[in-house]
Amino acid sequence: MWLTRPLQERSTQVFLGVLFAALVVVSALHLFMPEDSALYVSSYTVTLLGKYLCYALLAVAVDLVWGYLGILSLGHGAFFALGGYAMGMYLMRQIGDRGTYGDPILPDFMVFLNWQELPWYWHGFDMAWFAFIMVLLAPGLLALVFGFLAFRSRVTGVYLSIITQALTFALMLAFFRNEMGFGGNNGLTDFKDILGFDLRTDATRLGLFIATGIALAVGYVICRGIVTSKLGRVSVACRDAEARTRFLGYRVERVQLFVFVVSAMLAGVAGALYVPQVGIINPSEFSPLFSIEIVVWVALGGRATLYGAVIGAILVNYAKTVFTGIMPDAWLFALGGLFVLVTVFLPKGIAGLLQKRRKAETTEPTPAQEATA
C-alpha cells in the first residue's frame, strides 16, 4: 500500500524515530523534572516547540508542491491561515457567554460592531467535528478551485508564483475588512478551551504539542507515500519535463491539482494546530511576506527532501526566537545574513550537507536544475 511503503524505507524510519524520541523526551522533562532543575522544560518552551512543529508541517506541505511538483507557491500562507481561521471560529464559539459582553452566541467583536445575529458561515462551528472537517475543506476547496483554473490554462513558473501571491494578498485585504465578520485586523483571540480542555493548563499545552508532533508524523508519511509512489515519480516528471509527461499519456494538470490540494490541506491542518497554541489568528498570517518566508525555510533546509523542510522550518524559527531575545536590535541582520549565506554557499540547503555524507549517486529525486520560478 502506498501509505505503508514509506515505513519500510530507512530515511522515514529515522525521521519518525527522531521525532517521536523528541516528543517523549520533551514530555518527560516537562512532566517529571522539578521546576528548578536545569533540565526542566517549561510549558513556555513546550508551546514554542509546538509552534515550530506547526511550521515544520507547513514547510513539508510547501516542499511537496515546490520540491516534487515544481510549483513555487508564494501563497501557501493562505491555506495555513484558512485552516487557522476554521479552528479559530470553533474556539470562538467555545467561549460561549464567557466573553466580555457575555453574549451566549455572538463573539465579542460582533457584539460591539452591533451585529444582530451570527453570519451564516459561522453556523456549525460550534461543533468540533464540523470545524475539523472545515480545517481540511476550506483550504482544500480554495486550492481545488484556484488550482483547477490555473493548471487547466497551463499557468506555470513565475506567473503561477505571482498569482498565488496575488491570491494570498487579496485574502489578506479581505480578512482585514471588518464587514467580513472575521474580526478584522484583531482577528480571533482570547480563546478559552478546546474540546472541553482549558487552553491555559499545561496539560492541554502538552497535549497540543504532542498532537502537533503526531500530525507532523502523519503528514510526513503521507507526503513520503506520495513521492515514493509512481504518482510521485510522475510529478517529478511534470516538474522537469511537463510536455514530455503529457506525451506519455499523463494528465499533468490533474496530477498538479491532486498534489496541490493535498498540500493545501496539510497546510490547513498546520494552521489549525498553530492557532490554539499561539492563541490568536489574524490576517497577518495571509501576508505575502510570510508565504515567502515559508519558501525560505524550505530552501534553507533543502528542497525536495521533506525532512530538509522540517529542519529548515525549525532552525529558522528557533533562530528567530533566540535572536529577537538576545539581539533585539540586530536580529534581522542575522536572519537576513543567514538567508543570503545559505543560498549562496549551500545551494542544496542543509539537507545537501547531510546528503554529501550519503552515497554519491542517490535515487532521491532532486531538482535537475531550476526548472521553476
Binding site: R152, S153, A170, L300, D329, F339, V340, V344
Partner: protein
C-alpha cells in the same frame, strides 16, 4: 465664516488712509499696550484687538499680524518684551524685538510665551490682509484676495464692492469680485437676480450659496437656484470624470515607476529581486539626504537627487549583483531567497543607521499645490510631475534598450548566453550593467515616491508586491507591457474606488489579475524567450 462688522470699518480706513498708512507709526507704549492686549485676551476678544492693530495704521501692523498668524509673535516671560520668532525649532529660539526689530539672539523655549492663534483668528487675519491686498498694485495678489473674499463678504464690505468692481481693471479679478458680491446677495438678501451671475460658476462657495438658496422658502429664488445648480452639476460631472481619469493615470504612473526597474532586473535578467523595494527606498532616502545637504533649497536638492538617487541605487544594485546574484547564475529561484535576505538587511540597516522614523522630504513650491483648470477641477502638481517623470524614464529606458550597444548586448545575452559569449560579448559586464540600470531606475522611482508618500524603512515593502503584479500582468520581459499594465491597473483601481471603496477596489484588481492570467498565462504581451520560461 463671515468677517465681523469691524472689518468693513477697517476696510474704509484702508481705502481712505492707504497712502498715509505707509508712513504712520504709533509710539511704543501704544504698540506695547496693543500687543499686551493681544497676548492677554481670550480668542474671542483677540478678534477686536486684531482689528484695532490693523486699524492703527501702524506700518508694523502687517508684520505683527503676519507673525501672529504664523504663531511667531511671542512675549519674553522674564522681561515682558514682545518678540517675533525667527526660527522656532529645537529648544532655543532665535528672536527679534517686535517693536524695534533688533535681533535678540537665541532664547530658551522655557522663557518664550507665544501668543496663541487659532483657525478662526487666522481666517480673520487672512481676510483682513486680503482686503488690504485688494488695493495692491500686483494683479495676482488682487486676484487671490478677490477669490478669498468669496463667501466672506459682509454688509459693510458689500457696499464698497461695486466701486471696487468699477475701479478694477483686470477682467478675471472683476469676475471674482462680482461673484463674491453675488454670493453675498444670494445668501444674505435672497436676491434671485444675483443667481444668474452664479449659474455655471464652479466655485464651491457659490454652489453652497445656491444650495442654501434652493432650500429657501421663496419659490422664485428656489427655482432660479435649482436651475443654476443643474447647469453646474452638468459641468461637474464632466470635471469629475476627467478627475478620476487623472487620478487613475497618476496612480498608474506610480505603479509603472515602481515596476519598470523590476521589468529590467526580473523581466530581462530573470532575477527575482525581492530587494527591489529597498532599492526604491534608497532612492527616496537619497532625496532626503540631498535636502539635508542643501538646506533651504529643496527644489535644487530634488533635481540633483535624480542623478544621485540613480547612482546610489545603481551602485547598491551592482553590489548586490557582485556579492550575491552572480553566484546564483541559472538558479533564478535562489535569487528570490537571497535577495529576500538582502531586503531584510537593508531595511534594518536604514532603521539602525538613519532612524526607524519616517523622514521629512520637503516638496518644493513649484511642485506643491495644483494647477486650477477651473474652480472644480484642479490637477495636483506633484502627481503631474510624477506622471511626466514616469513617461520620461520609460522613454529613456526604451532608448537604451533599443538604440544603444548595451541594449543590444543585453538582449543578446538574455536570448542565448553561450552564443552571445562566443560572439565576444562580456556577459558578466552586461549583467552588471543591466542590473545596475534596473536598480538605478528603482532609485529614480524612489526619488519620485518621496514626493508622494512616506520616506521610511517600510517604503519598499509597500511597493514590491504591486511591482511584481504589474510586471507579470504586462508580460515578463516586455517594457511596453509594464507601461500598459501599470497605467491600466491604476485606472481600473481608481474607477472602482468610488463605489467599491479603497480596500475592495484593490481586492477586485487582484482577482482581476488572477483571472486575467488564466486567460493569458503569459501576461498582456507574451514574450518568447528565456526569462519567460524561467
Amino acid at each position: 465664516m463671515g468677517i465681523t462688522g469691524s472689518l468693513s470699518r477697517l476696510l474704509l480706513v484702508c481705502l481712505l488712509l492707504w497712502p498715509a498708512m505707509a508712513t504712520a507709526q504709533v509710539d511704543d507704549s501704544e504698540a506695547q499696550q496693543l500687543l499686551t492686549a493681544l497676548a492677554e485676551s481670550s480668542f474671542a476678544e483677540k478678534k477686536t484687538v486684531v482689528n484695532r492693530i490693523a486699524g492703527s495704521g501702524d506700518e508694523r501692523a502687517r508684520t505683527w499680524l503676519e507673525a501672529f498668524a504664523a504663531n511667531k509673535l511671542a512675549r519674553i516671560e522674564s522681561t515682558g518684551q514682545f518678540v517675533i520668532v525667527l526660527s522656532n525649532r529645537g529648544r532655543n529660539w532665535d528672536v527679534e524685538s517686535a517693536t524695534t526689530g533688533e535681533s535678540l539672539g537665541e532664547i530658551s523655549r522655557r522663557d518664550i510665551d507665544t501668543i496663541r492663534v487659532n483657525n478662526s483668528l487666522r481666517n480673520e487675519l487672512e481676510s483682513i490682509l486680503s482686503v488690504i491686498d485688494l488695493k495692491s498694485p500686483d494683479e495676482n495678489s488682487r486676484l487671490t484676495a478677490a477669490r478669498a473674499l468669496k463667501g466672506n463678504v459682509d454688509d459693510g464690505l458689500a457696499q464698497q464692492l461695486p466701486d471696487l468692481i468699477e475701479a478694477e481693471t483686470a477682467s478675471d479679478v472683476q469676475l471674482a469680485l462680482t461673484e463674491a458680491l453675488a454670493i453675498y446677495r444670494v445668501e444674505e438678501q435672497g436676491d434671485a437676480s444675483a443667481v444668474a451671475v452664479l449659474s455655471g460658476s464652479l466655485n464651491s462657495e457659490a454652489r453652497a450659496a445656491l444650495q442654501n438658496a434652493a432650500r429657501s422658502d421663496d419659490p422664485a429664488l428656489a427655482a432660479a437656484a435649482n436651475k443654476a445648480l443643474e447647469s453646474i452639476e452638468q459641468k461637474l460631472k464632466l470635471n469629475r470624470a476627467a478627475e478620476t481619469l487623472y487620478f487613475g493615470l497618476s496612480l498608474g504612473s506610480v505603479l509603472v515607476l515602481a515596476a519598470i526597474g523590476l521589468a529590467i532586473t526580473f523581466g530581462v535578467m530573470g532575477v527575482i529581486n525581492m530587494a527591489h523595494g529597498e532599492l526604491i527606498m534608497l532612492g527616496a532616502y537619497t532625496t532626503w539626504g540631498m535636502q539635508q545637504l542643501l538646506p533651504g533649497q529643496p527644489g535644487l536638492a530634488l533635481v540633483l537627487s535624480i542623478p544621485a538617487g540613480f547612482l546610489v541605487a545603481a551602485l547598491a544594485g551592482i553590489a548586490i549583483e557582485r556579492t550575491v546574484i552572480q553566484h546564483l547564475k541559472g538558479r533564478p529561484l535562489e535569487t528570490l531567497l537571497a535577495t529576500f535576505g538582502v531586503s531584510l538587511i537593508l531595511q534594518q540597516l536604514v532603521r539602525t543607521v538613519i532612524s526607524p522614523l519616517n523622514r521629512t522630504v520637503i516638496t518644493p513650491d513649484w511642485m506643491s499645490g495644483s494647477v486650477m483648470i477651473n474652480e472644480a477641477l484642479s490637477l495636483t502638481l506633484n502627481r503631474m510631475y510624477v506622471i511626466g517623470f514616469a513617461l520620461v524614464v520609460f522613454a529613456g529606458l526604451m532608448l537604451i534598450m533599443r538604440k544603444t550597444r548595451l541594449g543590444l548586448e543585453v538582449r543578446a545575452v538574455t536570448q542565448n548566453r553561450a552564443m552571445a559569449r562566443s560572439m565576444g560579448i562580456k556577459a558578466t559586464k552586461v549583467d552588471i550593467l543591466t542590473f545596475g540600470l534596473g536598480s538605478g531606475v528603482a532609485g529614480l522611482a524612489g526619488v519620485a515616491l518621496s514626493q508622494i508618500t512616506n520616506v521610511g524603512p517600510n517604503l519598499g515593502q509597500n511597493y514590491i508586491i504591486d511591482s511584481f503584479m504589474v510586471v507579470v500582468f504586462g508580460g515578463v520581459g516586455n517594457l511596453w507591457g509594464t507601461l500598459l499594465a501599470g497605467l491600466s491597473l491604476g485606472t481600473i483601481n481608481q474607477l472602482l474606488e468610488p463605489w467599491a471603496g479603497a480596500v475592495l477596489a484593490k481586492i477586485l484588481v487582484l482577482v482581476f489579475i488572477i483571472l486575467f492570467i488564466q486567460k493569458r498565462p503569459r501576461g498582456l504581451f507574451p514574450q518568447k524567450g528565456r526569462a519567460a520560461e524561467g
